[in-house]
Symmetry: C2
Subunit: 424 residues, 2 copies
């Protein structure tokens, strides 16, 4: 069905949802070999269909340019040969990951004689709402399929033709492996009403994962009638303790800020214990200045780094996603934890210290999805954590927290094995 043929968006989305629900039962039962074969077939189909995919992408790029999309958006939209390679490689990597579905844990005998355990099971139908990058279509579909879920994907209107081309490869891959083609559906309309309907169908969609800007995610979280796995701010901190190894502190702080500026796990605020501020800040300030990082500091920071501008209350609560760093000198670890609790976003926070008891306390007391000792916040990532891949990073506490891989797309049910036991 093409965009122009859909007149009743609500009815269309309800049908998409019903098809997804029906397909989800077959996918939940699908064995590992079938799912892996489908992923391999999708990779193959994309590889063989590069010309068509790139033509569809060119269509999107030209329409985007005509609509006046800015250069950054057009860049994210573009499918270069290298990006198509990465998409194909991503599908093959997900095929190589262990299948989480059906794994049984904690199977123990109880005094009644029954054995009770837990079996990992799919969530059912996952809805993904995302913005311009078309590679998400393949990446998200692969993770949802491997974890036994059906998927409904709603991409940005500017990537419509690219997403539909990828969707066609995905459907052919599912069919080739004997799985229902409706196991992955890409919404075939750019009508915004489709999103409103998609987030309000608990009978068809079990969870929504929005990927995109904060505005999109806040809107969806507010209006959704189903659970949302969401990623909001990444206001990440590094705290340099007065018992830090200052060489490690220097290396980690530089990496956490400057390895990439626009990622959610980039450090946005540096906290330094007053006992070592004089020893570390001038060196760090000079190196950050050389990299072109704008520094915004508390009064004590500005005593040590005259180039820093004054940090305002708002700075402490801002995710810059840019070469800007706010710096605060704090009395001690307790003051650092207090600051993180007050201004942070519970994403990723690190302490640099050689003190065993402080490291242990920081790990326990800082309430963030990733808490680190002597490591760069930039490691907060599904690949680095060994999850294989991630569908997003959750800043929620409920269900999934931090990088969400295959396991975050599943749930567990209880299983009971007996021999005719009855309850007395």
């Amino acid at each position: 069905m093409s965009d122009t043929e859909i007149h009743d968006v609500q009815a269309y989305m309800r049908e998409v949802g019903q098809r997804a629900r029906a397909a989800s039962r077959a996918l939940a039962r699908a064995d590992t070999a079938a799912k892996d074969a489908a992923l391999a077939a999708m990779a193959e189909d994309i590889d063989c269909g590069r010309a068509g995919l790139m033509a569809a992408n060119r269509h999107d790029l030209e329409a985007g340019a005509a609509k006046g999309l800015d250069a950054a958006l057009l860049d994210r939209l573009e499918l270069t040969p290298g990006r198509i390679d990465a998409m194909i490689e991503g599908l093959r990597q997900v095929a190589a990951l262990p299948d989480p579905v059906g794994a049984i844990t904690d199977l123990n005998y109880r005094p009644s004689g029954i054995q009770v355990g837990r079996m990992r099971v799919p969530l059912g139908v996952v809805g993904i709402i995302y913005e311009s990058r078309p590679n998400v279509t393949a990446d998200a579909a692969a993770l949802c399929l491997k974890s036994g879920n059906a998927t409904v994907l709603r991409g940005g209107s500017e990537a419509f033709a690219s997403n539909q081309a990828i969707a066609a490869s995905i459907r052919r891959g599912l069919t080739a492996a004997g799985l229902p083609a409706d196991g992955v559906q890409v919404v075939a309309t750019t009508d915004r009403a489709a999103v409103g309907q998609m987030i309000a169908m608990p009978e068809s969609i079990d969870v929504i994962i929005p990927r995109g800007g904060k505005g999109l995610i806040e809107r969806i979280s507010r209006d959704a009638r189903v659970p949302v796995i969401k990623h909001l701010d990444g206001i990440c901190h590094v705290y340099i303790d007065d018992r830090a190894d200052l060489d490690k502190a220097f290396a980690v702080a530089m990496n956490a800020k400057t390895q990439r500026y626009g990622t959610c796990n980039t450090m946005e605020t540096l906290l330094v214990a007053q006992g070592v501020a004089e020893l570390i800040l001038p060196r760090l300030g000079a190196a950050l200045g050389e990299k072109g990082v704008e520094l915004r500091g508390c009064p004590r920071t500005r005593d040590l780094l005259p180039a820093a501008v004054p940090a305002t209350e708002e700075d402490w609560a801002t995710e810059y996603l840019a070469p800007i760093l706010s710096i605060r000198v704090v009395a001690d670890m307790d003051a650092a934890i207090e600051h993180i609790e007050r201004y942070g976003s519970h994403h990723t926070d690190a302490i640099i210290t050689e003190d065993y008891t402080r490291a242990r306390r920081f790990l326990r007391e800082v309430d963030s999805s990733s808490v680190m000792v002597n490591a760069s916040t930039r490691f907060a990532d599904g690949f680095e954590y060994g999850l294989g891949a991630e569908i997003g990073i959750s800043t929620d506490k409920f269900h999934a927290r931090g990088p969400v891989g295959l396991e975050g797309l599943t749930s567990v049910k209880f299983i009971v094995l007996g021999n005719g036991e009855i309850r007395g």
Copy 2:
């Protein structure tokens, strides 16, 4: 603060929420000994204050009788000496459970040199909305406290005085152990607007657990602005396969239906493979008839059990919570699974079979929070499963599924231990 002094319910609830949030930080950090000491002190305080508690309960009972509450409601409301004993024993049992908070699992080295693991952490603030049984106040508070959460409890108006008396003991217990008294708050107003405010404060309350009738739970799920751990229907099935041991089948079916009629894990529909219907149904029908169970059957069932009345389409989708059983003869296991998928509530379903491959398939393919082989559905319970206690049974897939014990009241965060590693 007493009920009559609260004029602005919204403002009062916001204050309750803020106090809970503040207390939750201290509870998350509280060590096991302090939490266990608080639970022991609460038990002691309730034990020593029995006279006051029973006086408060008498007040509720008299007001309830004057309002015309029916006998079943008044029974649930009553705190007999035995029920107070059970409440005290429950607090001591939760103190004896292992502390889930801070447990570290899966701590492994990654190629980058960092060690990545998961630490179990509290959810934060748990809101419980419940109906007449005042013992829930102590039971729920104990589980939330042991799992490191602050709690806001909103009981039924008919149990107001009883709940406030228990709340006073809980506060004294917290204070005696050096924990913040606001760690457990029982809402001190019967104004219904308090519930509306309580489920719409994501900044203060992280999850809502409603306990009560289906109407209450549906209303709260629909209106809540925070995640809800909910328990809706328990339409549980036992399927007797044609390769069942018929003595086990008889024992399990009788137990699943007749051990207790009003519980959510009671069998409501019996499915029997046509190959053994003649062998098992007459025996079961006679025994169920002797117990006074009304039988409603499909045509084939009624051929074998003339006493059965015809089952309607609605019967298959009904949670009777009463001595009524619907019975259907099905072709085989696939037809049984199809029936369960169509009419069941994904709560607890069992197969009786000696066939290895069918048992394995049933466990994998039936999408319910508990799936059993050769055991009574009545075992679906936190105590029977070894969780120690349960705060409810979740029929959701997201976050927690099946009986929810201490672990379901927690989440996990990632921890990273390094030696100055940076990302390349």
